[in-house]
């Protein structure tokens, strides 16, 4: 499902973000990507949905070689990957509903169909009552859940979450993790980047540990 082979990413001025990373995530896996801030977690995720290209190495996602993917095939790849961004990337001046509808528009789903889908997703994340509010008025945890619902709009085969509990209190963190676990149970491959080792040990999934751009340990 996701395969990286000897992947390195070096930013200008010789800033090494990732160095010789090799791993394999199977279909249906739930994997934690752990490590201190600046270890290269976000870069690794961005390589998967090709927001970045590696300096060297090969990356396979859903059987496609992402590195050699043509620009025109990029939208198709991204439609199979749901991403929950660290900063959520919600449009703060639009309603929760409109934020999800934006994805429907991108995917070309007619509103008659997307309306039901958005309703279902918002119910799943427990925000159906807040559909007409702007994220601005929501709490951090609620915004997080909007971001999750939006990432699931395209029925992705892979869900990437970057620090989804970064600024939530422990109770809310567990809620969010449970939500992601549910998504995983339904068959979606989930990769969660986090610097919170406590969360990882509580959930007990396979964990890849990054340090200064290197994959230093793997806990099965």
């Amino acid at each position: 499902m996701i395969q990286m082979f000897r992947v390195s990413k070096i930013y200008p001025k010789d800033v090494v973000a990732l160095s010789d990373v090799t791993f394999h995530v199977q279909k249906g896996d739930f994997v934690f990507l752990c490590g201190p801030s600046g270890a290269g977690k976000t870069t690794l995720l961005r390589l998967i949905f090709r927001d970045e290209l590696p300096s060297s190495g090969q990356i396979l996602v859903n059987g496609r070689n992402v590195v050699r993917l043509r620009e025109s095939k990029l939208p198709a790849l991204r439609r199979t990957i749901g991403v929950i961004f660290q900063d959520f990337k919600l449009l703060m001046d639009r309603t929760v509903y409109a934020n999800l509808q934006l994805v429907a528009r991108v995917l070309g789903i007619p509103e008659s169909i997307s309306r039901r889908k958005i309703g279902r997703l918002l119910k799943d994340v427990g925000l159906i009552q807040k559909a007409d509010q702007t994220p601005y008025k929501l709490s951090g945890g609620e915004q997080q859940r909007v971001a999750i619902a939006r990432a699931l709009m395209s029925d992705p085969t892979i869900l990437l979450a970057d620090e989804p509990t970064g600024n939530l209190d422990p109770d809310l963190s567990l809620d969010v993790m449970r939500l992601l676990a549910e998504v995983n149970i339904r068959g979606t491959t989930v990769v969660v980047a986090t610097h919170n080792p406590k969360l990882v040990s509580e959930m007990g999934h396979r964990t890849l540990i990054l340090k200064q751009g290197r994959l230093v340990e793997e806990i099965a």
Binding site: R79, V83, F85, K89
Partner: protein
Amino acid sequence: MFWERLRTLLSETFLNFRRGGWGILVSVGAITIAFLITGIFLLFTLNLSAVVDRWAEDFQVVVFLHDTITEEQQTLLRKRLDGEMAVREVTYVSKKDALAKFRRQAGGQENLLEGMNTNPLPASFELRIHDKYQTAAALKQLAASLKRVEGVEDVLYGQEWVERLTGVIEVMKILGIVVGGVLGLASLFIVANTVRMAVYARAQEIEIMRLVGATRTTIQIPLILEGTVQGGLGAALALGLLYFLFQATLWQLGTSASILFSGPELARFLTPEYRMAMIGVGVLVGGVGSLVAVRRFLKV
């Protein structure tokens, strides 16, 4: 499916329009002004050249005949005129016709001729000249040679002022093209800038769209549509203002207009073709401006 998509696209465009606020107002306003100024030039030039065309149409060389001309001389002269390369049409105006014409034209002042027992007006040949011979030099030569023919009293022509006016029109046309071109480019720039600002204002939305797998087309089409609407709206507004100015000017000119155009109904607004063309150019300018802005943004 298609209609629903179209509907979504259109409603999105107009929603964006509302979100754009002042920026769009400034842009549409700038386009309106650019098109209005160009339109004024166009309208002025078109009407002036129409007037001159009409005058030029009437314009003739007139060969006045001696009262004493013999029939033989007249036939000879007629033959010669018919054979003249420059002459397109020859009309004989007898003394009687000339008097009738004078009476008609003098309108209300026929009594000028009353008390005269004889008709003082000479008979004449009125010549219409082929366009390509309507130059001062050619006419001067023609007049000089005709003057030497027996039985000809005088030859009148007045090409110089027509030439001068034609010159003015040429200058106006060139000026119009230059001004129109410069303003057109300016509005292209303005639209491109407004759309670019709109694009920057929505940078986050566009980024999200790209990240969730939007194709370039999905991102570009609403923005380009927005530009075409801006351009078309600006041009249409300019057209409306132009029409208003046109009517107001005619009303101001009043009777002077009727002399200039031999009747105010002869002053013409832009034909439907010109109107369509103006809006078309507006739409084009808006679309191209947006395309340039969006392309530049998406490349970064």
